[in-house]
């Protein structure tokens, strides 16, 4: 091979920079096959294509797209950011190319209905593919992620006419989708929104302002389809008076192609801590007579319609946590292998920092948390598939109950730990991590939004404590704990007896916390709010331990002995060093609300 060949191969294929991304294909395949249980899933939901061969082929190809094309655009997006011009918002040109490779590959069509251009694969298959997209460029990945949420909402609630006009283009990805909920004065509490919708013939005129609209306006797709919450003139006050509208950026002509600009404009974009490549827009509706919108679903039922996609969106945000954690881990490993500093114990010469035990502790913490997070998030997607498609209605209901308990834990716990993992990624780099040029800092900054959007950690914790535990007197979570105990018995020889006992004790600890909440909430109205975060985190560590135990056992037959040895050690590390945190949260929460609420608000 002559020199020019080498340089052209490296130009086309190899990104030699420190922060290149390669999908953890072995772990992804393992989790989908073994932890979700692909054959059982395929059988239960009657999906012939959901087999290992197809999965492997798809993941190999998705990895090419994300590692060759998407990954290189991540730093560019962070540095260039977005620009608001008189023609609307412009995103970096590199994003266009990466996104349209994704569109050409039909990667957005994975789990949607074949009649609308989808592939009809399980939602579980979207997990590894979306993880790759989010890890390689989360700012860009948000665009298809929100489009998927909008598609789900329209699929369940829109009229056939709207579906036929909008869904095929959105599934293809030539049009993107957004969610317009937040207004300047209301974020978490949507009951007081001011945006109005006035009937005007067959459609409605929308007027108002929405903020924090992710990918609210951009020049990357032919059209942007906004799902907007607004109030009809006769709307009852509060949550019950909210309706949902489809409002396209460009109104469609007779042939269904984008034609005239609707009365919607991005009037500014936010300057943010992270995800600089993702335009976060202030959207103004109806400054020139009202934006034309179409009602989705029934009047006043908008919030309910929005909630159909909420579970999946929360799961996807958890997945973004997995993705950033993994990318930060990959970069930290690369740095630790190369950076020579000091002589590690047992080394006569200067050694790479990976040989220092404290660096190893940080890498193992990152690794075990990432693998546990991935396992729990993917398994939640597997249960979601069962809740939609299981042939047996009883199994379907059981899955739906389980998924509702797991979702806030995935969203809350995984994204909280993504803060720790991406922070450790910087720590391993030392000063090189604090300066921006290595790229380690970007993952940390990008990760910071994850505990905030799609419901803050506090909201997830309240959802778990109030709606998922107190409302059904703990039935849902206790049912899951029973399942975890069954698994513990079944996989009783996966780990040493000490570690088996550790997970056993952690389950008892969680049972006690649940009971503590159920008993105490009757007498103390502050209790659930004061302890819900600790309860969420405790549950997260225990559920993560459950999946690491399953991993340790189910990996035994793996054809790659090195993979299985590494998985066993990672599981052991989790039980030894991560799981004990569950007990700390229990000890904190059983102290109740006393010192949390002890100082009067006026005294602050």
């Amino acid at each position: 091979m002559n020199l020019s060949d080498i340089s052209s191969i490296s130009n086309v294929k190899v990104n030699n920079s420190m922060n290149e991304y390669k999908a953890p294909l072995d772990d992804m395949n393992f989790v989908v096959n073994q932890l979700i249980g692909l054959p059982e899933l395929a059988n239960a939901i009657d999906c012939e294509d959901a087999n290992n061969e197809i999965l492997e082929a798809i993941l190999t190809e998705a990895n090419k797209l994300t590692s060759d094309v998407w990954s290189n655009t991540n730093t560019i997006g962070d540095r260039k950011g977005v620009q608001l011009s008189k023609d609307g918002v412009k995103v970096p040109s590199e994003f266009h190319k990466a996104y349209w490779e994704y569109v050409k590959g039909d990667w957005g069509s994975i789990y949607f209905e074949p009649e609308m251009g989808g592939q009809g694969l399980p939602f579980s298959f979207a997990m590894p593919i979306s993880e790759m997209l989010q890890a390689s460029n989360m700012a860009l990945g948000l665009c298809p992620m929100l489009t998927a949420g909008a598609i789900e909402t329209l699929q369940s609630h829109a009229s056939n006419e709207l579906k036929a006009k909008y869904l095929p283009k959105m599934i293809k990805g030539t049009w993107s989708g957004t969610m317009n909920l937040t207004e300047p004065h209301c974020g978490t509490d949507l009951s007081v929104i001011k945006t109005t919708a006035t009937p005007d013939g067959k459609h409605y005129r929308i007027e108002g302002q929405k903020i924090y609209i992710t990918w609210g306006d951009h020049d990357m797709t032919e059209n942007v389809v906004h799902l907007v919450l607004a109030k009809l003139p006769d709307a009852p006050a509060g949550i019950k008076g909210i309706s949902l509208f489809l409002v396209p950026k460009f109104l469609l002509d007779e042939q269904g192609n984008p034609e005239k600009h609707n009365d919607i404009y991005a009037i500014s974009t936010e300057h943010k801590l992270g995800i600089h490549g993702s335009p976060t827009c202030v959207m103004s509706y109806g400054e020139n007579g009202g934006a034309i919108g179409y009602l989705v679903g029934e009047p006043h039922q908008g919030l309910k319609a929005m909630f159909t996609m909420m579970n999946n969106e929360r799961l996807m945000v958890g997945l973004q946590g997995v993705a950033l954690a993994d990318r930060a881990y990959q970069q930290a490993v690369g740095f630790a292998l190369q950076r020579i500093q000091g002589s590690a114990p047992g080394h006569r010469q200067k050694s790479a920092i990976i040989h220092h035990p404290d660096v190893r502790r940080m890498l193992m913490t990152m690794r075990s948390i990432t693998e546990a997070s991935r396992a729990l998030t993917y398994v939640a997607a597997g249960i979601t598939d069962m809740s939609h498609g299981n042939k047996d209605p009883q199994q379907r209901d059981l899955a739906a109950r389980r998924v509702s308990v797991i979702i806030p834990i995935v969203k809350g716990w995984v994204t909280e730990l993504a803060q720790e993992v991406t922070s450790l990624g910087i720590q391993i780099h030392g000063g090189m991590g604090f300066v921006e040029e290595t790229g380690a800092a970007q993952y940390y900054r990008d990760a910071r939004i994850l505990t905030i959007y799609e419901g803050t950690t506090g909201i997830q914790a309240l959802d778990l404590a109030n709606r998922k535990i107190l409302l059904d007197c703990g039935a849902g979570i206790n049912d899951l704990l029973v399942q975890i105990r069954v698994d513990l018995d079944q996989y009783s020889d996966a780990l040493t007896s000490t570690r088996q006992m550790a997970i056993d004790n952690s389950i008892s600890g969680l049972e006690q916390s649940v009971q503590f909440l159920l008993d105490g909430a009757r007498h103390d109205i502050m209790l659930s709010g004061a302890i819900s975060y600790d309860l969420l985190m405790q549950a997260g560590y225990v559920f993560g331990g459950w999946q690491m135990l399953r991993s340790a056992s189910l990996v035994s037959g793996h054809e790659n002995k090195q993979f299985s040895a590494n998985k066993l050690t990672t599981a052991a590390y989790y039980m030894d060093h991560i799981l004990p945190r569950a007990e700390a949260h229990r000890l904190s929460l059983i102290q109740g609300s006393g010192s949390v609420m002890g100082i009067e608000a006026e005294q602050f």
């Binding site: 191969i9 294929k13 082929a57 798809i58 190809e61 797209l65 569109v103 030539t174």
Partner: protein
């Protein structure tokens, strides 16, 4: 700022202009190799590179050969693309990848043996005689052994013209015009068909397979035959004595003067 139209993107970047409607059959030889992006590790006994559980992929030059066949098909010049690989059962993945990219059917010649170029050429000749293609496309070399011999040997065994290191291919009814990348620059030659053409990297930019095509590839025909049944002498003629890692790069030194630098380049490095 890149200017483009959305619909151009969907149609694809490198569309060949249609000259005339021919209905040729193209055979493309494909090799499964260690992924060039992963670090190669030498086996402990120095007998070769460790390939167990290593990430394998299609040889990059073969990707160019496959892409060219697909472009020719999209331009209406080629009617059928048959891809062939010789190797272990897992090479089916590499063939399925070619099917996902756009090939029509595949042939896998199964063997555990690592064949040398002459043996590969003999097997391909056997397949060519059965399939009777108008054109054989191969990568100019494989990135694992860097032999750069199979295409040339195949042409010689078949008694066909050869055009190696192609960076541009134009097919006519009975002949082809090929631009070759040679040491001094570019050379344009004309060969009669059928011919063997080996692809260089600048021939095209290989596409990514789309999700629906990856799924469809599982249902495209793939024939398996075992090497033994062909009755060919594929014995290796070379013996590998040892495989070693390249020597670690030595630390650099600072030189004080230009004269010292010239002296070192002349007498130590012996490069000037």
């Amino acid at each position: 700022m890149i200017e483009y139209h959305f619909r151009d993107w969907l149609r694809g970047d490198n569309v060949k202009s249609v000259t005339e409607n021919l209905s040729m059959k193209v055979l493309v030889g494909i090799k499964r190799v260690l992924d060039p992006q992963v670090k190669a590790r030498v086996k402990a006994d120095q007998s070769g590179i460790e390939l167990t559980h290593a990430k394998m992929t299609m040889n990059p030059f073969c990707e160019n050969a496959v892409e060219e066949a697909i472009l020719l098909k999209e331009a209406g010049v080629v009617e059928e693309i048959v891809v062939v690989s010789i190797g272990v059962a897992k090479a089916e993945e590499t063939l399925r990848n070619a099917l996902a990219l756009g090939a029509d059917r595949a042939i896998l010649v199964l063997t555990e043996q690592i064949l040398e170029p002459l043996a590969v050429a003999k097997v391909l000749k056997h397949i060519v005689e059965k399939e009777v293609p108008n054109l054989v496309l191969v990568g100019k070399q494989a990135i694992d052994d860097d032999c750069n011999q199979t295409g040339q040997m195949l042409a010689a065994l078949l008694g066909w013209p050869q055009a190696t290191f192609a960076s541009n291919i134009e097919l006519q009814d009975t002949d082809a015009t090929i631009t070759r990348e040679v040491d001094g620059g570019l050379e344009t030659i004309n060969v009669n068909l059928p011919a063997v053409i080996s692809a260089d990297l600048r021939l095209n930019e290989p596409r990514y397979a789309s999700l629906p095509n990856v799924m469809k590839a599982k249902r495209k025909p793939l024939d398996k035959i075992t090497l033994d049944t062909l009755g060919l002498n594929t014995a290796n003629r070379l013996t590998t004595l040892a495989v070693n890692e390249p020597p670690a790069r030595a630390a650099g030194i600072m030189v004080a003067t230009v004269e010292e630098l010239v002296d070192k380049l002349k007498n130590e490095a012996k490069v000037i």
